[in-house]
Symmetry: C2
């Protein structure tokens, strides 16, 4: 009686997961976090209209969602001035990235990203046997010129850029991204992750023709729209690429409640404007807290502020842990030199007060621990 | 400026999708269906407790769902008398099947199923380059002996059995499935799809030890629990196989609203009992309607009744179409000889009245059309 025979590829994959959720930490510590500021969720919540739409759809949850997500894709298309054929809806950017990698990357194929960028993208590339080539950030910014150069060197099928960037919060103007696209090697697709772009300064979102075959741009309802727990992302790309997802996607994977909530969120533009304002205020508040504690807040075009603790990874890890012990959940960049920082999501005034109260003690404890 | 370079495997996949949703048909006909009885959804809806839980969770949808789905998996484990390590939660059985095939099936690997069984399984096998071997049904039943024999012949890594079966509604007793498991070739995993088993006679669900490495059983909240539009399925298997999914799954793919709704549904056992009763009544009602129209209703252990129209596939297709024109959405089996039948989901008394009213006309029209 033997067990299943995994593919060679799967047998060689590590058992690691991209992120451990805060709930696992809460179970380990036996108490919930008072300030949940580690996953760049929108503490300001979804639009009341979206909440109402989800509640109304709950009674209809006996019906599968429309596998074509017609109404939602129509609304997204209208919002962006493209056609429905340019729009894919999927289970968050994570889910779409997984299918995108599956479409392009066979074992041994080259893919390029920045060292320290989104781990879930790397997880998918490894999961399909791709060979990941990483280029360093240029300071706190991803380096479009280096990404394109590397893509040319290794013959990459796919290159990833997040703009704005996570975990550093930095961003490039649309012109920089435009030049990157113009310089892409032939047959290399840019996966442009714009998860945070609704919260960025005007002029950050790249201008890309609807039928441009060189780029797929990724958007989400998880950040500005405050619907991380609904799992709806979307992609904008040329119709051929959008149609290719039909060959592999989970057609009924986007449920009725999710489609209803996302549609209502998209239509409540006032809510997004209000969230932008609250995010800007929270960024300023977090920056002030950082400075008051001798940390350097990095400029941010996102719903989080990355704070340079002025030490190494050990110090920042100790700060994250000490904050956690004080009921404040934050995360930090994974790789040097960025792991000198902690990353704190925007929160309510009450959240920020908890950070302000906990940070001095957490820093002192972390410094004492890491000085040993 | 060239487009993306797809993998050889993807480039060779057909553009077809496993199912077209009823919404697409509604858009084509310019009107909604009055009786939605084609997708084996639960017309009796989800538990009121589940509706309330989803509505309550909607306001919390700014938070990602627990990627470990701890509470839901604990509850499922308790329900089945296994441990959390035996339980995987995923985006419906469809999503779990996709990841299961990905874990086991490399291009060229052999997989076995029944000719006419669940097309979405076949879609996933093709999508990962597997070679699908099909065995005929034995009458209206899947044939466990033939499946196992074929699996041995071709060295299959994976064999699929739905019990109860869709689209025929037939079922085997637990003893038959137990003998099938005992006869599996070494290293061949049985994917036992029990989507409908909560609606089947006692003694249908197979008895399988929690750590048996030969079987993964698949369950869903889409059928008896009435939550097709929430997209939550689960799998029970040995801990090693459950853990392997962590290497490839979309860890944050199961949202907070979905987990809350599923948990509440699982806990409302009275609702499931009530649904069973209504399903049984509806099966009897549909059978009576079939007989009144000279059709033979097949025995069913599911929430649908498959009706033998007594002709060929062309006749049944014409009946499905004629019913649709009369605002009654049903589907039918895809392959001969099963495509002599139409498949009608259980519905409310109002739904059944619509079927009873539409079927005589639809049959007459279909017979006239196909007699030409």
């Amino acid at each position: 009686m033997t067990g299943p025979r995994y593919t060679e590829l799967v047998a060689g994959l590590p058992a690691s997961v991209p992120f451990v959720g805060p709930e696992a930490q809460e179970r380990a510590r036996g108490a919930g976090f008072a300030a949940r500021l580690g996953a760049n969720e929108s503490r300001f919540g979804p639009s009341p209209a979206a909440i109402a739409a989800m509640a109304a759809a709950a009674a209809d949850a006996w019906m599968y969602g429309d596998p074509e997500a017609f109404d939602l894709r129509e609304a997204i298309a209208a919002y962006h001035g493209v056609t429905r054929a340019n729009v894919l809806v999927g289970e968050g950017i994570d889910g779409i990235l997984g299918n995108l990698v599956r479409l392009l990357v066979a074992p041994g194929d080259a893919v390029v990203t920045s060292d320290g960028a989104y781990p879930t993208f790397n997880f998918h590339v490894a999961g399909f046997g791709g060979v990941l080539h990483k280029v360093p950030y240029d300071g706190n910014h991803e380096d479009p010129v280096a990404l394109v150069r590397k893509a040319g060197e290794v013959g990459a099928k796919l290159v990833y850029l997040a703009n704005p960037d996570n975990p550093m919060g930095s961003w490039h103007g649309a012109d920089v991204v435009g030049r990157m696209i113009a310089a892409l090697p032939d047959g290399c697709l840019l996966a442009l992750d714009e998860a945070y772009v609704e919260l960025a300064p005007e002029g950050t979102a790249a201008e890309i023709a609807a039928d441009d075959p060189r780029v797929i741009r990724l958007r989400t309802f998880s950040k500005g729209h405050g619907l991380a727990g609904l799992r709806v992302g979307y992609a904008l790309a040329a119709p051929g690429l959008i149609a290719a997802f039909d060959k592999v996607r989970n057609h009924f994977g986007m449920g009725r409640v999710a489609q209803a909530g996302a549609l209502a969120a998209l239509q409540d533009r006032d809510w997004l404007v209000a969230v932008r304002g609250r995010v800007e205020a929270a960024r300023a508040g977090l920056a002030a807290i950082a400075r008051a504690n001798g940390l350097e807040p990095l400029p941010s075009a996102t719903n989080f502020v990355t704070m340079d603790c002025g030490g190494d990874g050990a110090l920042a890890r100790a700060v994250v842990q000490a904050l956690g012990q004080r009921s404040v959940f934050v995360r930090m960049p994974f790789v040097p030199p960025h792991d000198r920082c902690i990353r704190v999501s925007c929160g309510t005034e009450a959240d920020l007060a908890l950070v302000a109260a906990a940070l001095p003690e957490a820093l002192a404890e972390a410094r004492k621990l890491t000085a040993v």
